[in-house]
Symmetry: C2
Subunit: 254 residues, 2 copies
DNA sequence: GCATAAATTCAGAATAACTGAAGTTAAAAT
DNA sequence: ATTTTAACTTCAGTTATTCTGAATTTATGC
């Protein structure tokens, strides 16, 4: 850069800011008091800019701010391990987590509001890539002995969120067999009721085991019913390794 | 700004950074995870830039970072009040203070290293503007009674920094009259010696009064000797109101 | 699947930035 | 003090960048 170009830029900056920055009575020109203050601020600007450049240059693997969604059961069971694995293996990535129901999360991933989500697998949806994270058997849980017909006939059925992904699976298989149904939106609350003998339920085995007292009897659903927790991402996602990068973090042992 | 211009800037920025910032599968384009992180950094840059603009636009009166010098006696007596006045009446100004001897401060103001300085006035120097801040009588101080001839004959003369501005004034007037001379670089140390009767001295009356115990006898110098504390600034200084602005702060009551 | 609105691309125009020569000005040397 | 020297500024012309408007491609709604 030529000296004359520097001189013109100095003059131009003074004009733009409306402040005399240089005392040209000295050679080389010295900063005025105002110039010193502006210089300090300018250095702060450059520092912020070089921080920007630093993050964009030393970028490897998963990097950036990811927005992810989790269904409630996944946010309790999968999320903590996921975040620990990310902290360790993807230090340049940070996460904004939202909890919602499967349908809503599908919409939000599809619309680009979220980059990825962990939901209960349902029928394939166009534009979404699904990767199975966990395959979980559904079991009945009760404190009272007896086969399923007896339970359905004698105890209230504790039904988890019928509108949720897992809730719809449960509804399909229970059909109209329940003599009485109580709807709840909390796995922990349902299991507390089961533990006290208030009713029985059908839930993923890991969720039952999480809260069940020793008295609780688990009965596998006769039809081999299960649900898949899947990672959904947009198929048209620009960042090619977003899907595999996040999927890998779910497979890590912590 | 046209939409096409925005589009070109977006593409150009992605190329410069080497990062895909936008996911163009959406309309309008959405930020990628990396884009979100870069966006946060970019906002920090803009924030720093608007802070710069703010200081250069709301500028009134004394503003900026001023570098000032004080001779030791002035840094103790004038500086605190000056800084308090500045804090109150020139909130947009901040100060970097250096303490040095008058000659050195003259050079540093002349070379532009300092914007202004408070020194003991000497012969006028080309290129420096002088404004009198304080007119101070010089007095002899001693614990022992008797006229000056007796003091000079019987007690050591405590001589403040002979190389300093005030020191040269003192040297000129004392001449060779002292039977013994002790040189010191601290007014406080000199007055401590005077207080204990170790010797006598010749100093500005305010400096004597600052440390003298009641026993000390002050004798005005017969020739009406005095020193002026003056504010020096460069005559060719670009910032026109620097001199009057600083001078005014010295006149304020706090 | 088609229509519509929106983003991108391209070529030319406008703007901004830069270079080199000439003219000033501050510091150094006589 | 005056002259010399080196450095900064100004000016004119060139180069590079950015912007606009029309044509094209692309996502979304019906």
């Amino acid at each position: 850069m030529t000296l004359s170009a520097v001189s013109m830029q100095m003059k131009s900056l003074e004009g733009d800011l409306g402040v005399t920055l240089f005392d040209r009575a000295h050679r080389p020109p010295k900063l005025t008091p105002d110039g010193r203050r502006i210089c300090d601020h300018a250095e702060a600007v450059l520092k912020a800019e070089s921080a920007l450049l630093a993050t964009s240059q030393s970028r490897t693997g998963l990097s950036g701010i990811y927005r992810m969604g989790f269904v409630p059961t996944a946010s309790v069971r999968l999320l903590p391990d996921f975040l620990m694995a990310a902290e360790r293996d993807a230090p340049q990535a940070s996460f904004e987590i939202a909890t919602d129901l499967s349908d809503a999360l599908e919409d939000r991933v599809l619309s680009g509001d979220l980059d990825a989500a962990v939901i209960t697998a349902s029928s394939d949806q166009r534009g979404l890539q699904m990767d199975v994270l966990r395959h979980e058997a559904l079991s009945y849980a009760s404190c009272h002995p007896g086969n399923l017909e007896v339970l359905f006939a004698t105890l209230p059925f504790l039904h988890f969120l019928p509108k949720s992904g897992i809730g719809k699976l449960i509804a399909n298989h229970v059909g109209g067999r329940a003599s009485r149904t109580i709807t709840l939106d909390s796995v922990e609350a349902i299991m507390e009721c089961v533990n006290r003998g208030i009713g029985f339920t059908l839930l993923p085995a890991p969720d039952i085991e999480r809260f069940a007292v020793p008295d609780v009897i688990k009965t596998a659903e006769p039809g081999g019913l299960s649900r898949d927790l899947v990672l959904i991402t947009r198929t048209t996602s620009q960042t090619s390794d977003l899907r595999t990068g996040i999927y890998t973090l779910f497979q890590k042992e912590v």
